[in-house]
Amino acid sequence: MWATSARRAIAGQSSVTSWLLRNSMIKSGEKVRSFSSGSNQLTVRDALNSALDEEMSADSRVFVIGEEVGEYQGAYKVTKGLLQKFGPDRVLDTPITEAGFTGLGVGAAFYGLKPVVEFMTFNFAMQAIDHIINSAAKTYYMSGGQISVPIVFRGPNGAAAGVAAQHSQCFAAWYGSCPGLKVISPYSSEDYRGLLKAAIRDPDPVVFLENELMYGETFPVSDEVLDSNFTLPIGKAKIEREGKDVTITAFSKMVGYALKAADELAKDGISAEVINLRSIRPLDRATINASVRKTYRLVTVEEGWPQHGVGAEISASVVEESFEYLDAPIDRITGADVPMPYAANLERLALPQVEDIVRAAKRACYRQVPQSAAA
């Protein structure tokens, strides 16, 4: 299969073009328009699907396991077409036992396979968190380097829309505190594609936090992103928008909100630098600190709970390393310290909105800012 995609590549057709053809998204003969800067449109869902497809073709040890990943084509259609292409030995539908299939995946990884374990959401991964931490994260260390665990745990993380407390928790901070794990939270299609490929190729256990509401979002991507060997380095943040007045860090869906906030702030003459963290662990402290040393002000944004959150860690890191550069206290914008409510109006109040980020940035810049209408 790898040879096949190589042949197609030689014939001048990118592997994603052939993927798009196979999945009837473009007609044969229709050329996917490609310019040197991104003008191919790729949804996040397709970015994930194509990454899985290519990695499974390239390495026969990679397999997908989880609930509804096969016959149902994936609970969110991320694994669409994979069962048909690779067969039931590589795409496994499981009974409803997160603890079971996570443990099974870890055991397979001990033996030398490369499982990609899908959780319907990371909330359900809590039923398997012992296997993620005690069996996967710690084993390379505990075994004295004898047993490596090249496993990827992926699935939607954080709030969706109207799914309430047990389906909306953000786990970035919890997994991010655990040594032995790598934790990734992508934003754009390029991020999803490059980082999932990197995660599958990585010999360490990786927690890959996706976002349900982003699956349908479309992003322009360059030809380079569509190449079958495209990967992004784990542990490097991306500066989505350059600025000089205030640094805003965010991950996952909040990057989009931060970019919108930056547009709003530009109207008021504040030039915000938006950093897309991409990795929670390792955290790219170098990029964050370099940015703060340029702008002297920092606002961190996340959907999760405030106490012991990602913003708390970034704050501590910046205070430790760039204290003299700060001109204003660091502001953490986080979700409310409550289990997620269901009612739409309450849910909106429980999550950061663009205006919250704008207000925080203005506070950091010592601008007059009216208090928010809601408490």
Binding site: L104, Y141, M142, G144, Q146
Partner: protein
């Protein structure tokens, strides 16, 4: 001719409708099935097919074997209208045939009867009596004297090692130990029935299996003393052995997590089509964990070649069996998962060897999981942190320790065959003792793991933050050498 056929068809539709309306119950016919008819509708239960065939082709003479519902090869002139015998009305349940997707082989009943909580008796397999003599009617497994003696020597060495390491812990030489007194036969004889390619996922009381694989006394001592020669690089508590070259996965403390790992590894072995299986050991207490259920269910559904070996030793620290589960033993639990099992006398080394050997070949050739319950008794305290006299009687303990020693039982069988004697026994005991003490002295005198081992193996390649931390520590050590422990190399 066409008229008869059409009449036949409308008659059949009338009959089919009687299933639903029940009016013409008495005219229902006994299903006739020609054995040569192909199964054209495999997704339907065969009962329904019979009826369908019957109602449309009841009149076809036997001998015409090429049949399809729409075949035009059957000449119309062969159709007759034969009256079928009337069935006696015995109050046959009209909807006798069960086709719910959730069950395969069951029938309806109109008796309000509950399934008993008491399971069918599962007999316990053994071939040697308590005195080490073959039981009447037992077929002993093929075991050459060399293999039998190797099993015995392992068991004795294991006993001596356990005794000396336990004492060492009491003397403060290392922090923790767990012995397997009373379970030597269960562990060593089962390991002897495996091949070196089978991957072992143990719980924590199976050092005998690792010893069988060739992990030597010096390596055991290094791990317990956590010195620089420990394969675990000093990161694990004593008895948390692991050795990749011996196909023995590092012990992990949380109970029963190794069960689902074993299923995962078995699945990989199956995909690789290897002549090997995964083997997992666990105690009676582990059967209460969620992972037990998950792993058993998965292994059965995925048809993974894994042996689940449960050392049912009657105690989980201080929890007796009566507080652990209400089923009658562990072997009976496998039926609920559609899995095969066997219950074995774990103190009969020959029986354990025979059962595991047989189970292993079934697991690999038929690609199925097998549960093997080895009944035994935990003579030891749970660990060096436990004093079991607090929760069980001295009489019970001394009965099992003195009267039911599995090693003695096997020795009697060896002596009965003329392969062993008292003198050899004394020599073996004293030889093992000397070797173990020497290994302990050697391990104790070695340096601890170096400082660099604190930071490596968290990830595949050491990340920058840990490199920084290591350099900070080394700077601090260079500045204050008197504060740094002398037996930890840099």
């Amino acid at each position: 001719m066409a008229l008869i056929r059409r009449a036949g068809r409308s008659l059949s539709m009338l009959k089919r409708s009687s299933l639903f309306h029940g009016k013409q119950k008495k005219q229902r016919q006994q299903p006739i099935v020609s054995p040569s008819l192909p199964n054209l509708t495999p997704h339907l239960p065969s009962s329904l097919i019979r009826l369908q065939i019957n109602t449309t082709y009841s009149a076809i003479p036997r001998g015409i074997s090429s049949c399809s519902f729409r075949s035009s090869y059957i000449p119309n002139r062969l159709l007759t209208s034969e009256a079928q015998p009337k069935l006696p009305d015995e109050g046959i349940d009209d909807t006798q045939f069960l086709d719910f997707p959730g069950v395969k082989n069951t029938a309806f009943t109109c008796d309000l009867k509950f399934v008993s909580e008491k399971s069918e008796e599962v007999p316990c397999y053994r071939v040697l009596s308590e005195l080490g003599e073959p039981v009447d009617g037992a077929k002993l497994p093929q075991m050459a004297d060399a293999l039998a003696l190797r099993i015995y020597e392992n068991m004795i060495t294991l006993q001596v090692m356990d005794y000396l390491f336990y004492e060492a812990q009491r003397q403060g030489r290392f922090s923790f130990y767990m012995t397997c007194s009373g379970e030597e036969a269960a562990i060593v004889a089962s390991a002897a029935a495996l091949s070196n390619e089978d991957v072992i996922f143990a719980q924590y009381r199976e050092q005998g299996a690792l010893m069988w694989r060739g992990f030597d006394l010096q390596e055991f001592a290094h791990q317990c003393y956590s010195n620089s020669a420990d394969y675990g690089k000093g990161r694990q508590m004593p008895i948390h052995y692991g050795s990749k070259k011996h196909n023995f996965v590092t012990i992990s403390s949380p109970i029963a997590t190794q069960l689902s790992h074993a299923v995962g590894a078995a699945y990989s072995l199956k995909m690789d089509r290897k002549d090997a299986c995964a083997v997992t050991y666990f105690g009676d207490g582990a059967t209460s964990e969620g992972d037990f259920h998950a792993a058993m269910n998965f292994a059965a559904v995925m048809e993974a070649p894994v042996l689940f070996i449960c050392r049912n030793n009657g105690w989980a620290i201080s929890t007796p069996i009566t507080d652990q589960y209400r089923s009658d033993g562990v072997a009976t639990k496998s039926r609920a998962y559609g899995m095969r099992s066997i219950c074995v006398d774990g103190n009969d080394a020959l029986a354990v060897y025979s059962a595991v050997k047989s189970a292993r070949s079934m697991a690999i050739s038929e690609s199925r999981p097998i549960l093997i319950e080895v009944l035994t008794y935990r003579v030891s305290h749970h660990s060096t942190s436990d004093d079991s006299t607090k929760y069980r009687s001295g009489e019970e303990l001394s009965h099992w320790k003195v009267m039911r020693d599995p090693v003695v039982r096997f020795r009697r069988w060896l002596e009965g065959n003329g392969w062993w004697n008292r003198q050899k026994d004394t020599e073996l005991q004293s030889h093992s003792r000397k070797k173990i003490i020497a290994a302990m002295m050697n391990a104790e005198s070695m340096k601890k793991p170096p400082l660099s081992d604190l930071f490596t193996d968290v990830y595949d390649s050491i990340p920058t933050n840990l490199k920084e931390q290591e350099s900070y520590v080394r700077e601090a050590v260079a500045k204050n050498p008197n504060l740094y422990p002398s037996d930890v190399p840099l």
